[in-house]
């Protein structure tokens, strides 16, 4: 049961990052590899600030700010200096590796002896309920774990809601139009490159926030923790798409959160069944590859047999 709570919590925390990937990838078709470095950046900034005595809330917000700055950098490289989209992400990711080491002053920062957002959430819930553990059917779960889960779910759902509202504003409509058809946006006075830049900044903020929460949940920041983040985010977005099968905005955003949580659940089940954790990234990559390629292959073979696409 604790394992389940853990998987769900991780799912919600990474859903925040996946929401960022939703903005850049689903709206703009931009696969921002900088995400890998930005998640770690968020973790590093939050961890170092917390260790130095900053309030976890301030540290988390500062991490999100740093992430927005990093996202901006990717955006400037691509939209202003006209660097290829993948390459601008790779450059930022590579550069951030050193930046993250500098910020942390080493390859990891432990948070075991300091209060984090996860601890704060646990304290609040314990005070409210007066329980150390909660019985759920045959299992008993530490209140702290449930508090972390509730906190992560609240953050992910609130941000998903905020994103939904934002994308339906005048500004949000212009942003989506830029990703959907840059020429039509331009004809309506919207600069698609500017909108992409803003999206990358927003997405960077989400990723770094996710990293900050992740570091506080697992109790450390590590320079390697971001490896494979973008692919994970893509997996969440794609699963979400398959889950809801609609382009309706609110549903698609909710699908992304569900996709992230579901993916974490599948991962924890697979690990339980004996999947070597070292193989996890390979399996994730293969999964994303399959989802990208299979629809096209199916369509091609379907055509060959004279069967139309549904």
């Amino acid at each position: 049961m604790s394992l389940l709570a853990g998987a769900l919590t991780m799912g919600f925390i990474l859903a925040v990052m996946a929401l960022g990937v939703f903005v850049t990838f689903r709206i703009f078709g931009f696969a921002d590899l900088g995400t890998d470095g930005v998640l770690t950046l968020g973790a590093a900034v939050a961890a170092v600030l917390i260790v130095r005595g900053a309030s976890p809330v301030v540290a988390t917000l500062a991490a999100a700010g740093a992430g927005m700055l990093a996202g901006c950098t990717t955006g400037v490289l691509h939209t202003r200096l006209r660097v290829n989209s993948l390459l601008s992400g790779i450059l930022v990711m590579t550069g951030l590796y050193s930046v993250n080491l500098r910020i942390m002053g080493g390859s990891n920062v432990p948070l075991s002896r300091t209060a984090t957002l996860a601890d704060m959430a646990g304290t609040v819930i314990r005070k409210l309920t007066g329980l150390e553990t909660v019985r759920m059917g045959a299992w008993s779960v530490p209140t702290g774990d449930l508090a972390a889960l509730a906190g992560a779910a609240a953050v992910a759902c609130l941000l998903a809601l905020a994103l939904r509202v934002f994308l339906a504003t005048d500004f949000g409509v212009a942003l989506r139009a830029s990703g959907d058809n840059a020429q039509s946006a331009l004809a309506q006075g919207v600069s698609a490159p500017d909108m992409l830049l803003i999206s990358l900044a927003v997405s960077g903020g989400f990723s770094a926030l996710s990293g900050a929460l992740l570091a506080q949940y697992q109790g450390f920041a590590d320079v390697q923790m971001g490896v494979g983040t973008l692919v994970l985010g893509l997996a969440s977005v794609i699963i979400g798409q398959a889950l809801v099968r609609t382009r309706a905005l609110g549903v698609a955003i909710a699908g992304t959160v569900m996709g992230s949580v579901l993916f974490r659940l599948l991962v924890s089940i697979a690990l339980r069944w004996g999947l070597d954790p070292n193989d996890l990234k390979l399996v994730t990559a293969a999964f994303v590859l399959a989802t990208l390629v299979l629809p096209d292959l199916a369509a091609r073979f379907g055509k060959g047999k004279g069967v139309g696409r549904a």
Partner: protein, 270 residues
């Protein structure tokens, strides 16, 4: 008022692909005038439109619109003054957004885009009312993705989007060329209606001789990057498609003569 003065544009200068698309074009279009531009392929008619819309930046000359010098303005800034409809019906609308959202996008053209709920939420009735005027029943499809509509329907909506906030200039770039004849006819009817109703200053490029004679108050013929004929008033009203063909023939003959004279001179003197 649109005031184009001596604009010159050369693509790929100094290479063997050099194209002198505009060789000094002057054009003054008064407020509320509907100008139809025709010309052969490579005459510069599309480049003229692109120079005005900002998708092409001219090498020389100035472009004034509504008293402002927009020669160096980037495209998205000019859009505050210019409404555009493209040849490709897929170019003017965002296919995965709803009809309502596309119209909401257009109703903020040239205005600040804030964090207020978009117009398709805020003033839905008003939006539906505007779509209703097209007389195509699209007011019942505000929540459908534009990608699910036909080319003609999308082009009609693009027209509406280009004019929903009154533009200082409406640019129509062969906007019926990619449609089937019935849809083209419908779009021409909508175009004429919107331009007349709003008394819009309009620059329309077309391939169709029929449209060129039946639409607009003034006809500009381009060839070789220059304006070669400018017909307005009664002369424009009396114009028949045959007259235009004659003029094109005359231009072609003159060019052939030019070429043969050059040939003769070369043989004689070189």
């Amino acid at each position: 008022m649109l005031d184009v003065r001596g604009i010159v544009k050369t693509f790929h200068p100094g290479t063997e692909n050099e194209v002198r698309a505009l060789r000094g074009v002057d054009l003054l279009v008064g407020d509320g005038t509907f100008v139809v531009v025709i010309g052969t392929n490579g005459s510069g008619k599309s480049t003229l439109q692109n120079a005005v819309s900002g998708s092409v930046i001219v090498d020389r000359g100035t472009i004034l619109l509504a008293g402002r010098n927009i020669t160096r303005w980037p495209e998205h800034r000019r859009a505050a003054l210019v409404g555009r409809v493209f040849q490709n019906p897929f170019s003017g609308t965002a296919p995965h957004m709803t009809v309502g959202e596309n119209l909401a996008l257009a109703s903020r053209r040239g205005l600040r885009r804030t964090l207020r709920p978009n117009e398709s939420i805020r003033s839905r009735e008003e939006l539906a009312e505007r779509v209703k005027k097209l007389g195509m029943g699209l007011e019942n499809r505000l929540d459908d993705e534009i990608g699910s509509l036909s080319g003609g329907q999308r082009q009609a909506l693009t027209l509406l989007m280009a004019t929903v906030r009154r533009p200082e200039l409406l640019l129509l770039d062969e906007h019926t060329a990619a449609l089937d004849p019935r849809a083209a006819e419908m779009i021409i009817r909508v175009t004429d209606g919107l331009v007349r109703a709003g008394n819009l200053t309009t620059l329309m490029v077309t391939h169709s001789m029929q449209q060129a004679v039946s639409l607009g108050d003034r006809l500009v013929m381009m060839h070789g990057g220059r304006v070669v004929a400018d017909i307005s008033g009664d002369a424009k009203k009396r114009l028949r498609p045959g007259d235009l063909l004659d003029r094109f023939d005359a231009i072609r003959r003159r060019e052939q003569i030019d070429q043969s004279v050059a040939e003769m001179l070369r043989e004689t003197y070189v």
